[in-house]
C-alpha cells in the first residue's frame, strides 16, 4: 500500500524534532539546516506548519532534470535524488512550484524528502502526531470523519 505523510498543523508545536530526525537520518548529525522537512511559524507562533515534498505523481522536478537524476521509487512512490547522477544544476529547485527540493551547497547536490525509503523519521519523531504516515488513498479520512460526526442530529434531538 502506498503511504503519504499527513500533516496536521493544528497539532504542531514547532518543536523541530522532525527537522532533527530528518537530518540525522540523511546526514548522521542533528542539522535542521539540512532537513528536508521545515516548520514555518506564523504570527509569533500562533500557527506552526510542517511542509515538505508531496511526491507528485507527475513531478515537475523529475521532468525538469536534464540528466534523469530524479527517479521514482516504486515501493514508496517517492521521488528520489540519485546523488551519483545529480550535477547540481538546480533546475529542479526552480521547477518545483512548492519549493520542497533545495540545493545543498556542501555537497553540490539537491535534497528532497524521500520518505526515508518507507519509514519516515519525521513521523516517528513527532511528539504530537502533527505528522503521520497514512494510506495515500485516504489522507482526508479523519477530516471527513470529524465532519460526519457533526451530522448526528437524531441522537442530539433525543
Amino acid at each position: 500500500m502506498q503511504k503519504s505523510l499527513l500533516i496536521d498543523p493544528d497539532k504542531c508545536t514547532s518543536c523541530l524534532q522532525c527537522e532533527m530526525a530528518c537530518s540525522f537520518e540523511h546526514e548522521g548529525v542533528f542539522n535542521p539546516a539540512r532537513s528536508r522537512i521545515k516548520i514555518f511559524e506564523f504570527e509569533h507562533g500562533k500557527r506552526a506548519v510542517p511542509y515538505t515534498c508531496t511526491q507528485c505523481a507527475e513531478a515537475w522536478c523529475l521532468h525538469a532534470c536534464p540528466v534523469e537524476a530524479l527517479v521514482r521509487n516504486p515501493a514508496t512512490g517517492a521521488v528520489e535524488v540519485k546523488d551519483e547522477i545529480c550535477v547540481g544544476c538546480k533546475v529542479c529547485t526552480i521547477a518545483c512550484p512548492f519549493g520542497t527540493v533545495n540545493y545543498n551547497p556542501d555537497t553540490g547536490k539537491v535534497i528532497k524528502c524521500d520518505l526515508c525509503g518507507g519509514d519516515p523519521q519525521c513521523a516517528e519523531a513527532c511528539p504530537t502526531d502533527a505528522i503521520t504516515y497514512v494510506d495515500s488513498a485516504w489522507t482526508g479520512y479523519e477530516r471527513m470523519q470529524a465532519w460526519a460526526a457533526k451530522t448526528d442530529s437524531k441522537a442530539a434531538a433525543v
Partner: protein, 606 residues
C-alpha cells in the same frame, strides 16, 4: 561530539572577534551551559567589576545536549555579573537561539568590553560580522528581529536581542530570543545594553553530532516515552505552568499585594480556566500551546488580547498573537499587584517581551510602588497622574509600557524594588534577596522555598532548588536543609546539560546521566554528574564572595521573618530561616559564616 569544542570571543571595544578551542578540562568538570559558563566567567573577569561597566563579561553558553534530539534540547544560559544583584547572574532561556549557536559551531560566545557605537553580531557558521545597529537602537525586540531577518534576506536567522529596557539599562532588563522567550532575570539585558550590543543574529549549517549515535538514539527514544507518559508532563502541555496559580491559591502561598497576603481573591479571572473561557465579547485569551527547540512538552502559551480591551482598543499593532501567561508572569502581573484583568495582564506581558524586561522583577517592584502610594509616600503628581493603587489594571498596563520605554515614573520603576524602596526611605518594602525580587511563592507557606530563595547564588530564585514535595508534606522548617542542598546540586547539573528543568516532571537523575553518557566522550556516572553540580554551585558562591557578598546576604525580608502568613495552610507561620540556615551551611560543608571550607573546596577540586 555534542560539544562543538569552539568558543567565539568578541572584543566589542576593538570591534574584533576570534575563536579559540573549548577548554575540555573545564567541560569535563562543569559539563556546559550554567556550570561551564560560570567557570569561564570566574576566570575571565574580576567579580568586583562594575556590572554596567566595560569590564563585566557577558557569556552566552550552550550545553553539550543543546541541539540534539534529546527532549527539550533548546536551552542555553546568559551569564555575567548581575546589575540587579551585584552577584553572579546566570539566566536560562529556551526558544531556538541556543540550538542555532550550536549549529553554527559554537559552545560559548564571550563578549568583552564595550562597543563605541550600537552594534549587532551577525554569525553564519564561521563568518562573524559586527555591524552597525543604528536602525535598531531605540526599537523593540519584535521590530529588531524582523528588521535583521529582512535586511539579511535570511528568514533562517535566530535572534537574541534587547529592547529599549536593555538599552536604558533597566536593572532587570532581559535578553529576548525568538520574540517571546527570555533569559529573564538579574538584568542580563542591561549588561548587553551597557556594551552597546543590540542583538546577536545567528544561523548555522554544521550540525551537532554525538559520541555514540546508536546508543544515544535508543536512550532518547526511551526518555521521550517516559516523559510523554508522565502525568506532570501532560499537565504542562495542556495548561502550562499557570496551573500553579490555583495550587498556590489553595495552599495559601500565593504572594498578594507585595507579599502582605498569601491568597488572592481574583485567581478565577486569570487562571488557566479563565484563559480558555470566552469573555463577555466572546473573546478567548488562549490560542494554542508552543514548544521550544527539541521540546516534547510544549508548555509555552500563545494568546491574544480582546480587541475591545482598553489597552489595545485603538492599537491594531497589538491585536496579533504572542506569548501568553505562564505562572510567574501571571503572579507578578496579577496577585502581587492585586490585578485580576486577564487582558491587562496579557498586554503587560506583551510589553515585557517587546521591550525586554523581567515580569517578575517588574511586578514585584510595581507592587512595592503601590504599597508606597497607598501609604501616602508616593503621590499622584510623582506617578504621572496615575493612581498607583493595588488592583488598578490601568496602572499596571501604563506602567509596564512606560518602564519598557523609560518614560516618566517608569524610569523609577526601572531601578528595581530594592533601589526604589531605599530611595523613598522604605527599604523594608523590598520583597527579595540580594537585590532580586521573589518569584510567586511565599516563604512563610513553603519553608524550603524560603531557604532556597535566601541561599540562591543569583538572588531570590525559585528555580535553583526543588523541594515542593518536602514543603507541602511538612509546613515546618524541619528537615529542609539537606533536601534544599541536594536539589540545588541536582538542578545545577541539569542547568548545565542544555536540557530544560521541566523534564523533571517525568525524568530522574539517571535519565540525564544516560543521555550525557551516550552523547559525550568519557564515562558519565550519577556521582560524577551530581558532583559537577555541587562544584558549579560552590564556584558560583565563590564568585559572589570575591564580589563582596557574605553570609549576611543569605537572608529574607523582615515581613517574611516576622509577619505571620494571614491565611491558608501556613496561617500564623513565619519563615524559619534562623533555624534552617545553620543546618544548611553544615550540609554544604561551609563555615558558620557561610564560606566553603578548605576541605570542601579540595574535595570539589576548586
Amino acid at each position: 561530539m555534542s560539544w562543538q569544542r569552539k568558543v567565539l570571543r568578541v572584543n566589542l571595544t576593538k570591534g574584533t572577534s576570534k575563536t579559540e578551542p573549548l577548554n575540555m578540562e573545564w567541560a569535563n568538570a562543569y559539563i556546559g551551559e550554567r556550570g561551564l559558563g560560570t567557570k569561564y566567567l570566574s576566570e575571565n573577569m574580576d567579580p568586583k567589576a562594575d556590572p554596567l561597566g566595560p569590564d563585566n563579561v557577558l557569556i552566552f553558553a550552550t550545553g553539550p545536549l543543546t541541539g540534539t534530539m534529546a527532549s527539550t534540547s533548546g536551552r542555553y544560559a546568559v551569564l555575567c555579573k548581575g546589575p540587579l544583584t551585584n552577584a553572579i547572574a546566570c539566566s536560562n532561556s529556551g526558544g531556538k537561539f541556543g540550538a542555532e549557536m550550536k549549529f553554527a559551531g559554537y559552545d560559548l560566545i564571550i563578549l568583552e568590553g564595550k562597543s563605541p557605537k550600537p552594534v549587532y553580531l551577525h554569525i553564519i557558521d564561521d563568518e562573524v560580522e559586527i555591524l552597525a545597529a543604528d536602525e535598531l537602537w531605540g526599537k523593540g525586540v519584535w521590530f529588531t528581529e524582523d528588521w535583521i531577518k529582512s535586511h539579511h534576506s535570511n528568514p533562517n536567522l535566530k535572534v537574541a536581542s534587547i529592547g529599549e529596557a536593555g538599552e536604558n539599562m533597566v536593572r532587570y532588563a532581559c535578553v529576548i530570543n525568538d520574540l517571546h522567550r527570555a533569559a529573564g532575570r538579574s538584568g542580563v539585558g542591561a549588561v548587553m545594553g551597557s556594551k552597546n550590543l543590540k542583538a546577536i543574529a545567528c544561523h548555522g549549517t554544521k550540525g551537532v553530532s554525538v559520541d555514540d549515535p546508536k546508543r544515544f538514539m535508543k536512550v532518547v527514544k526511551e526518555t521521550h516515552k517516559k516523559l510523554a507518559e508522565s502525568g506532570g508532563r501532560k499537565e504542562l502541555t495542556k495548561v502550562g505552568t499557570n496551573a500553579m496559580i490555583d495550587v498556590m491559591q489553595e495552599w495559601g502561598g500565593l504572594p498578594t499585594r507585595n507579599f502582605q497576603e498569601v491568597q488572592f481573591e481574583g485567581t478565577d479571572k486569570i487562571n488557566p480556566e479563565a484563559a480558555v473561557t470566552p469573555n463577555a465579547h466572546g473573546h478567548v485569551n488562549l490560542i494554542t500551546n508552543k514548544a521550544c527547540f527539541g521540546c516534547t512538552i510544549a508548555c509555552g502559551r500563545i494568546a491574544h488580547i480582546d480587541k475591545e480591551h482598553f489597552t489595545v482598543v485603538n492599537r491594531k499593532e497589538y491585536w496579533h498573537a504572542s506569548g501568553g501567561l505562564e505562572y510567574e508572569t501571571a503572579f507578578a502581573l496579577g496577585p502581587v499587584v492585586g490585578v485580576d484583568d486577564i487582558d491587562a495582564l496579557t498586554f503587560a506581558n506583551f510589553m515585557m517581551n517587546e521591550h525586554g524586561m523581567d515580569p517578575i522583577s517588574f511586578g514585584v517592584t510595581l507592587a512595592a510602588a503601590m504599597e508606597l502610594y497607598e501609604m501616602g509616600v508616593l503621590t499622584k503628581e510623582q506617578t504621572d497622574g496615575i493612581e498607583l493603587k493595588f488592583g488598578n489594571a490601568e496602572a499596571l498596563a501604563v506602567m509596564a509600557e512606560k518602564t519598557g520605554k523609560g518614560e516618566g515614573f517608569g524610569k523609577i520603576l526601572g531601578m528595581g524594588s530594592m533601589r526604589m524602596t531605599a530611595k523613598y526611605g522604605h527599604p523594608e518594602l523590598f520583597m527579595g534577596v540580594k537585590g532580586q525580587e521573589f518569584a510567586g511563592y511565599d516563604s512563610r507557606a513553603l519553608q524550603g522555598m524560603g531557604l532556597g530563595y535566601a541561599t540562591s547564588n543569583r538572588g531570590a530564585c525559585h528555580l535553583k532548588h526543588d523541594v515542593f514535595g518536602e514543603d507541602m508534606e511538612d509546613i515546618s522548617g524541619n528537615n529542609k536543609a539537606q533536601p534544599v542542598k541536594d536539589s540545588q546540586d541536582r538542578v545545577a547539573m541539569i542547568d548545565s546539560t542544555g536540557l530544560c528543568l521541566f523534564t523533571t516532571a517525568g525524568w530522574g537523575v539517571e535519565d540525564f546521566v544516560d543521555q550525557l553518557d551516550a552523547a559525550c566522550e568519557g564515562t558519565w556516572t550519577k556521582e560524577r554528574c551530581l558532583e559537577s553540580g555541587e562544584r558549579t554551585w560552590t564556584l558560583e558562591r565563590m564568585f559572589n564572595m570575591r564580589a563582596g557578598l557574605t553570609g549576611a546576604d543569605d537572608t529574607l525580608p523582615k515581613r517574611l521573618l516576622e509577619d505571620p502568613a494571614p491565611s491558608g495552610n501556613a496561617k500564623g507561620k513565619v519563615a524559619e530561616l534562623g533555624k534552617m540556615m545553620p543546618e544548611y551551611y553544615a550540609a554544604r560543608g561551609w563555615t558558620k559564616e557561610g564560606m566553603p571550607t578548605n576541605e570542601t573546596l579540595n574535595r570539589l577540586a576548586l
